[in-house]
């Protein structure tokens, strides 16, 4: 097989088919698995339809022979009208870049069982657990298929279309009770507890039949009676959920041999609000302010991914000025986010407050600009389908906007980066704590579907802005920094590098902002009641500061609400290899390793 593919490589003499890699991969798969792989012919859908029994073979061939080695996203979809459960896999090639190959697998809705892809891509671990938790799709062969976002005693699978929340009003907003006869009520008064918050059958919080905690600790090599003859105890410790260094409510079940970590299991979901279910009740535009609240440190980039996904469905165009403003905002967000991330990383390493606060001073200035432009410092809600909400303000903090930005970009931020460099890069304590700690190899980084700085610090030069350019990134001159050691120190350095590259981008963007002054910032007259012209699926992905942020949106014709709305959350997926990274290190290193991944629980738990 591999020979055949080699023959198929583009040749220099120009005779080889200059097919794009996705089409070529699809053709190869169809040829090799004629019974199991077909084109997805549904209206508005792309990619392949794969039958569940051949999924593992297809995925293996895709990874090993065709070079689509990166499983970016796993999405469960409830196709209630066809009585099917569908799982959508987005796969990419790290080395070639380009767009992805999308695999759709459909199984019977009443008995949704699929083979697990965790043996091929361990990065599918949390995502499959999420699909099990929220949609009840069973993945055969998954080593640890437990609930992940809802609590262990939760009844039902909330993303199923026929599942209703505790206080259910209607399927879609706007709700009829608001107008014209609006009589106010507080939903919490109408909430009937006991309906969904009840123990499922056979679940006894203190009983023996189904003990969650035992379940949690199984798989950990830990026996109670090993003490005799041993010099050290093995001990299971809960770090979190209330812990100052977990960056929010996040829990790690750690098994220790003395001070050394033997095993670590992340437990999340304490901030879960079923963003996706809310998203499916919302109209398209109503989702925008909700995306702000995912990774609340980078609301501008969250907006960007979502508007890209919806714009693909709408077919709208974006005026030039709006694109430049978007890049301006998104790159400033990246700097903000990395400043925050590094400040906290240093905090976790024991450099309490000082470096963090120096970074914050500059971050505050960027937030001032966001506030003047968008009306809010963190919940910006600034982008709209086909443009941005408002033009740039004339003044920021009583200084002319352009001169404010120039001073910020040419003087302030470079100075604060240099200062950060001086404070930390060669600091002996920082180096001792971070070099060689929490190593993730390139192979693992790819296999575990990590993204963003974590992936790039491990030697994979992959950035959505270059791999599949959106907006005007193709025309901008910047490098994708890459580091090869994959330890905490490299993850620190890569963020420093990225901030400097963002500055390069910003320097190129400013002249365009000046040149397009007064040009339109939104395409057409914005509508609040959008109806989708066509059915279909769309995946909008952007390089969020924390990694690839993707929105998978499907819709039916003339619908005003998304049929399925899924977020590929980089913070969430980057946590998959946390246990592996911590193994063999000391307790204090856990905090630093977690800090170097840079998570925001609003996005992890969704």
């Amino acid at each position: 097989m591999s020979e055949m593919i080699l023959d198929d490589q583009p040749q220099d003499d120009g005779t080889a088919v200059n097919q794009n890699p996705v089409e070529r991969a699809a053709a190869l798969l169809k040829e090799r698995f004629p019974d199991a792989v077909t084109d997805d012919t549904r209206d508005g859908y792309t990619g392949l339809m794969v039958s569940a029994d051949k999924l593992v073979e297809v995925a293996t061939a895709l990874r090993d022979d065709i070079g689509f080695d990166y499983l970016s996203s796993v999405t469960g979809v409830d196709q209630i009208n066809d009585n099917k459960m569908e799982v959508v896999y987005h796969t990419y090639s790290i080395d070639q870049g380009g767009s992805g190959l999308v695999l759709h697998v459909q199984v019977d809705r009443d008995n949704p069982v699929l083979p697990s892809l965790t043996p091929i891509w361990p990065g599918a671990d949390f995502q499959e657990r999420e699909a099990w938790d929220l949609l009840g799709i069973h993945f055969d062969g998954h080593h640890d298929l437990r609930r992940i976002l809802t609590w262990d005693g939760f009844a039902g699978h909330p993303l199923r279309k026929d599942w209703k929340e505790v206080f259910y009003e209607e399927d879609h907003k706007p709700f009829g009770s608001r107008w014209p006869g609006g009589e106010v009520f507080r939903a919490e008064e109408k909430t009937v507890y006991g309906k969904n918050v009840r123990y499922p059958e056979g679940w006894l919080p203190t009983g023996d039949e189904y003990d969650v905690e035992t379940e949690m600790y199984t798989g950990i090599t830990y026996t109670r009676d090993q003490q005799s003859g041993m010099k050290t105890d093995k001990l299971t410790v809960n770090m979190g959920p209330q812990h100052p260094s977990t960056h929010g409510v996040f829990r790690m079940v750690v098994t220790l041999d003395g001070e050394t970590v033997i095993d670590l299991k992340p437990v999340m979901g304490y901030l879960h609000r079923n963003h996706e279910k809310i998203g499916e009740r919302n109209t398209f535009i109503q989702n925008l302010p909700y995306t702000d609240r995912l990774d609340y440190l980078s609301s501008m980039s969250n907006n960007h991914g979502y508007v890209l996904a919806v714009e693909k469905l709408l077919g709208s165009t974006v005026p030039e000025r709006a694109e430049w403003i978007r890049i301006l905002m998104v790159e400033l967000t990246r700097i903000c986010n990395h400043m925050w991330a590094l400040g906290f990383l240093l905090n976790d390493l024991g450099a309490l407050q000082t470096p963090m606060l120096y970074f914050y001073l500059e971050r505050e200035l960027i937030l001032d600009f966001f506030e003047e432009a968008a009306g809010s410092r963190m919940m910006c809600n600034y982008m709209r389908f086909g443009g941005v909400a408002y033009d740039l303000p004339d003044y920021v903090r009583e200084q002319e906007t352009i001169s404010f930005l120039e001073e910020l970009i040419y003087e302030h931020i470079p100075a604060v980066l240099d200062q950060g460099d001086g404070l930390m890069t060669n600091n002996e304590i920082v180096r001792a704590r971070s070099i060689g700690v929490g190593i993730l190899s390139r192979e693992d980084a790819i296999a575990y579907s990590t993204a963003g700085p974590v992936l790039r610090a491990s030697g994979a030069q992959y950035d959505v802005r270059r791999a599949e350019p959106y907006s005007y990134y193709e025309s901008l001159d910047f490098d994708i920094p890459v580091r090869y050691n994959g330890d905490i120190y490299d993850r620190y350095l890569i963020r420093m590098d990225e901030m400097r590259q963002s500055l390069r981008i910003l320097e190129q963007v400013l002249p365009h902002i000046k040149a397009t002054k007064g040009a339109p910032i939104v395409d057409g007259k914005p509508q609040y009641a959008i109806r989708m012209p066509n059915a279909g699926e769309s995946y909008g992905r952007v390089e969020n500061p924390k990694g690839e942020l993707g929105y998978y949106v499907t819709t039916r014709r003339r619908e005003s609400n998304p049929d399925r709305y899924h977020v590929r959350a980089p913070s969430f997926i980057n946590l998959t290899p946390l246990g592996k990274m911590c193994e063999g290190h000391k307790v204090a290193d856990i905090v630093a390793i977690l800090g170097s991944i840079d998570i925001v629980l609003g996005e992890v738990d969704r």
Partner: protein, 231 residues
């Protein structure tokens, strides 16, 4: 040399430490560093040096015109002796439909003959649920709902105090002019312009050459928010 990196870092911290005192001395001759509007302005901006702390609530950061907090309803300026004037809201329901968390309840007014009356009987916003997104303001076709700048809403009882009714929500136009002067002026100019256009259309008939229609000044066009040129 081992430890050089640490020393370098300490030097940077030291510089900040000294800078803060230098800044104190600089402002000591100019009316003080704190509780001084002039000094606060500098401290907030790019030129600020030294300690950046703002002593809230004695000192407050200024908020920009576009700042969004919970909504209020615009009314005409009140006649003497009254708190509010006529509602601008026509109870068209657009804000209640676009509101993402659905925290607006509007009871539409009814005329004696049973037909809808273009003003709300009641208007409620649950400010606990409001996510300050600004969509209601963006899409209201009558400039009747605006987002407030008053962010000090702490209260002892959230169950009653946090559901704002029409009385609590209504504020006169002069208030909006005060907190967002540029925006309010531009909106007024746009409303005048739309009226002018309507009058022009009436006078010249449907087939008139649109290029001779009255134009909006560039200044106002620039101030336009989101909704496109005309609405």
């Amino acid at each position: 040399m081992y430890g050089l990196g640490i020393l370098k870092g300490m030097a940077i911290t030291m510089k900040h430490f000294v800078d803060s005192y230098l800044d104190d001395i600089f402002w000591a001759a100019r009316g003080g560093r704190y509780y001084n509007d002039e000094a606060l302005k500098v401290r907030q901006g790019l030129k600020g040096k030294g300690v950046k702390t703002v002593f809230y609530p004695e000192e407050k950061l200024s908020v920009p015109e576009r700042f969004r907090f919970v909504p209020f309803l615009v009314t005409d300026d009140p006649p003497p002796g009254q708190k509010w004037g006529k509602d601008w809201c026509t109870s068209c329901g657009i804000c209640a439909k676009v509101c993402p968390p659905q925290c607006i309840w509007i009871e539409r007014g009814v005329q004696p003959n049973g037909r809808p009356k273009p003003e709300p009987n009641q208007f409620y916003i649950d400010i606990d649920i409001c996510m300050n997104c600004g969509f209601c303001m963006e899409f209201c076709p009558f400039d009747a709902i605006k987002l407030d700048h008053d962010y000090e809403l702490a209260s002892y009882d959230r169950t009653t105090a946090h559901i704002h009714d029409k009385e609590r929500l209504s504020k006169p136009l002069s208030y909006w002019r005060e907190i967002a002067p540029k925006k309010a002026a531009a909106e007024a100019a746009i409303r005048d312009h739309v009226d002018e256009l309507k009058a022009w259309k009436k006078a010249n008939g449907r087939d008139a050459d649109p290029s001779t229609a009255p134009k909006m000044t560039e200044e106002n066009t620039k101030q336009l928010f989101y909704r496109g040129e005309y609405y």
